[in-house]
């Protein structure tokens, strides 16, 4: 008897999960119909994530020195040519996509989280706390991002975590400001006043009542910041303050030795740049599409 109910529950769970997945799929399809550019960008990004996950299977050894192929152009052996050590450009791009994605997603995620926290508390408590916190936000917004990130990496040392942290700091203020503005206006709404009136605790109000309201805006801000984060990591790597070598990163592939050899082969600088530009372009397009779909202010 027990086994029968178990199978039935399992079937129920199965259909529920299936239904949920189906819902996600139809949701994505309708998103693609409404926003074709957004759909294409999403496909590109999913493809890129797949490439990054299976980089070891797709790429050859990115550190293998194939001396005769030094600075070779695209060929059957080296699809996108090879660099000044004879290392395969395609493989290095594939492996480098990991750094670009890991740094951009985790830093934007971290920055959005901290930004949301700052924005919510600042907008909710107001007063002196808000005034002081907002000066920090002002300061972060007004600073030249790269200068701040350079100092941070120089002080903390070159490592993946520190680069992520440095880029994350840059994405805090944007989210914080947007969330604070919304929190300020939410303070005046009836359902928040009602929550206060029935004696809900501050953490409960912030988590259960404010937080769900700000999620769309946070998503918009985060997706809008993703492209900038990829560019920031690339700039740091280009200036020699990205994740430590020999990890291949797209920015580092364009720096130092690459520039010395442009007279002999332009391919070593063309492909990493194209990879960067295409990725940031599609990420930005996806962000625009998400904003159009999610932003309540643009809803008609």
């Amino acid at each position: 008897m027990a086994t029968v109910t178990d199978t039935i529950t399992a079937q129920k769970i199965g259909t529920a999960v299936g239904g949920y997945l189906w819902g996600v799929v139809t949701g994505l399809v309708s998103f693609g119909r409404k926003k074709p550019l957004g759909g294409i960008s999403l496909l590109f990004l999913v493809g890129l994530v797949t490439v990054a996950v299976f980089a070891d299977q797709i790429a050859q050894d990115p550190f293998h020195f194939d001396r005769p192929a030094r600075l070779a152009g695209p060929s059957w052996d080296h699809w996108l040519g090879a660099d000044s050590f004879g290392r395969d450009t395609f493989s290095r791009l594939v492996v480098g996509s990991r750094i670009a994605l890991i740094v951009s997603f985790s830093s934007v995620g971290f920055g959005a989280g901290v930004g949301t926290f700052i924005g919510l508390t600042s907008g909710y408590f107001g007063g002196k706390f808000d005034l002081i916190v907002q000066r920090f936000v002002d300061f972060l917004i007004a600073m030249p991002g790269l200068v701040v990130a350079l100092v941070l990496v120089a002080v903390l040392g070159r490592s993946l975590m520190n680069v992520i942290f440095a880029v994350a700091v840059l994405s805090i203020p944007g989210t914080a400001r947007i969330v604070r503005a919304l929190a300020l206006s939410l303070n005046q709404t009836e359902f928040i006043m009602a929550a206060r009136a029935v004696g809900a605790s501050t953490p409960r109000i912030l988590l259960r009542h404010f937080f769900p309201q700000v999620i769309p805006l946070v998503l918009i801000a985060a997706s809008g910041g993703l492209g900038g984060a990829i560019l920031a990591e690339a700039s740091l790597s280009f200036l020699g303050l990205g994740p430590a070598p020999p990890t291949p990163t797209w920015g580092a592939m364009l720096s130092g030795s690459a520039i010395q050899f442009i007279d002999e082969s332009i391919w070593i600088v063309v492909f990493p740049g194209v990879a960067l530009t295409l990725t940031v372009l599609f990420v930005n397009l996806l962000g625009d599409a998400l904003r159009d779909v999610l932003d309540p202010r643009l809803r008609t």
Partner: protein, 319 residues
């Protein structure tokens, strides 16, 4: 209005002060011994060298408590003295005085290029809305926003040298020594630095122009038979430019970041190049000095834009 100006200026100082504290603390609590790293000391260095390091540390005042060091630094800054660089015989003031003009010129040029190119293309996109010309220009601006500036710089160098066999003169020439040579050196990095600001302000010009073109007063201008050019330039553009000007502060921030990259790439002896060198050689007094100067500039320009805003847009009144 006056109260607003005073408050805004009073808020400017705390932001700069926060920056100075954060910057100073970060550079002091950093793991590792600045002087030791600077002298290239190892763990097992002979004691004589360690004594030497202690002596230098005392000489530079690094052995005092951090609050005292900070107070000293700020007091010097109030008297417009940024302190001494770790490399012998150079005060930070001197470095800034020498390198600032290059960065300033690069910044002014790239902003000028960005606005000269972006405003006409923004207008063009708006008056040709939803035509092929509009689509192509929009795609170009999207690509411009996505392209890393340092890659644009590299590609410019490649195209100039490979296709035209021409390279900018190598040794940097001051503007007042030979303006033409100086122009040849500055124009390409300025163009590359301006790419993203250019794409951004072209998009803003387009959207605000589109908004303005739907207004009643533009229809009135058309109805009374004004030439199309007059409608666009005298009536629409004036109002459409307001958001573009607001973004000037952001563009300046961009250019400050870009200068670090472009000066390094093109070998221009500016503040950005010096900043990166100071970071790489762990010359921390120089790092904090230059960072503070850059921050002061960016904050100052942002303050100026805020204060000029009511003059540009009379509808805005600060209270």
């Amino acid at each position: 209005m006056q109260a607003y100006i005073i408050r805004r200026i009073l808020l400017f100082l705390p932001v700069l002060l926060i920056f100075s504290v954060v910057l100073f603390l970060m550079l002091r609590v950093m793991p590792g011994d600045v002087v030791g790293l600077y002298l290239g000391l190892e763990e097992d260095s002979p004691p004589l060298e360690k004594e030497e390091a202690d002596r230098i540390r005392a000489q530079l005042g690094f052995d005092r408590p951090i609050p005292v060091q900070y107070g000293d630094w700020i007091w010097d800054i109030v008297r417009l003295d940024l302190g001494d660089s770790l490399s012998a015989g150079r005060s930070v003031n001197k470095v800034v005085r020498q390198k600032m003009p290059v960065s300033l010129e690069l910044g002014v040029m790239s902003l000028a290029i960005a606005y000269i190119l972006s405003i006409p293309s923004g207008i063009f996109m708006a008056i040709r809305q939803d035509t092929w010309a509009d689509y192509i220009t929009r795609v170009l601006t999207l690509i411009g926003l996505a392209t890393p500036t340092f890659w644009v710089g590299i590609m410019i160098v490649i195209i100039l040298s490979r296709e035209f066999g021409w390279l900018p003169p190598l040794a940097y020439v001051q503007l007042w020594d030979d303006p033409w040579v100086n122009f040849q050196q500055m124009i390409w990095p300025a163009l590359a630095t301006g790419t993203s600001s250019m794409a951004f302000s072209a998009r803003i010009t387009r959207s605000s122009m589109l908004e303005v073109l739907r207004q009643d007063y533009i229809r009135t201008a058309a109805a009374k038979g004004l030439a199309y050019r007059t409608q666009i330039i005298r009536h629409a553009l004036r109002n459409a430019l307001i958001p573009v000007i607001t973004l000037f502060g952001l563009a300046v921030t961009n250019v400050a970041s870009g200068s670090v990259i472009m000066e390094t790439l093109f070998g221009l002896p500016g503040l950005g190049q010096e900043f990166l060198r100071a970071i790489n050689t762990r010359d921390f007094p120089l790092v904090q000095g230059i960072a503070l100067v850059l921050a002061g500039w960016v904050l100052g320009v942002n303050l100026l834009v805020d204060l000029l805003y009511p003059l540009i847009d009379p509808r805005v009144k600060y209270t």
